[in-house]
Symmetry: C2
């Protein structure tokens, strides 16, 4: 129905608690890979992999600053996820057969 | 920050276009596996796998009716995805350093 070229990657990137926490951390301000890895108790390599997944989904941007890599929130702000989710929730709210379907389901239930 | 036990599965389940289309289809009314598979041109086995992933995330419910398996939208209506997404987007909108960070970024750019 609603099509976004990026949305598969966005949803997949968000399906991991560490990646969501990285986004929440970067929402408060930019950080280096080292600063990101420390509070989560993950290796730098592990952290880099998570950042790469977020970067591929354009949820995070990175730039080399001296010897460090600085991460900040990317150009995408979950517009696609927001729109798809709202569309789906609205669809469920509005469907005319909702009550009928509930009735249908209870028909087979012994009283 | 916001914690939901189910949210990893929900996001992961939504990271596939066929699974999102199945949800959109079921949003319009229940359907058997065969009815679901046909318009997507996927095998019954492939369709069952997608439905299983959606069922594990409680986004779809199924019940055996005679020899068919009837699928309908599950008890979860993306409350977790909706709340996390809204929290993150609000966080980005409200952060006080947003303008400062933009200024900071342009400092290194040659004029």
């Amino acid at each position: 129905m609603v099509q976004y070229p990026q949305i598969d990657r966005t949803f997949a990137a968000l399906g991991d608690p560490t990646r969501r926490s990285i986004l929440e951390r970067l929402g408060r301000g930019s950080a280096t890979i080292t600063e990101l890895a420390e509070p989560f108790g993950i290796s730098l390599t592990g952290c880099k992999k998570h950042v790469r997944v977020l970067e591929d989904a354009e949820l995070v941007s990175t730039e080399k600053v001296g010897r460090a890599r600085r991460c900040s929130v990317g150009p995408r702000r979950l517009e696609d996820v927001h729109e798809w989710t709202e569309m789906y929730r609205r669809m469920l709210d509005e469907r005319p057969d909702r009550f009928g379907e509930l009735l249908e389901r209870t028909k087979g239930v012994p009283q």
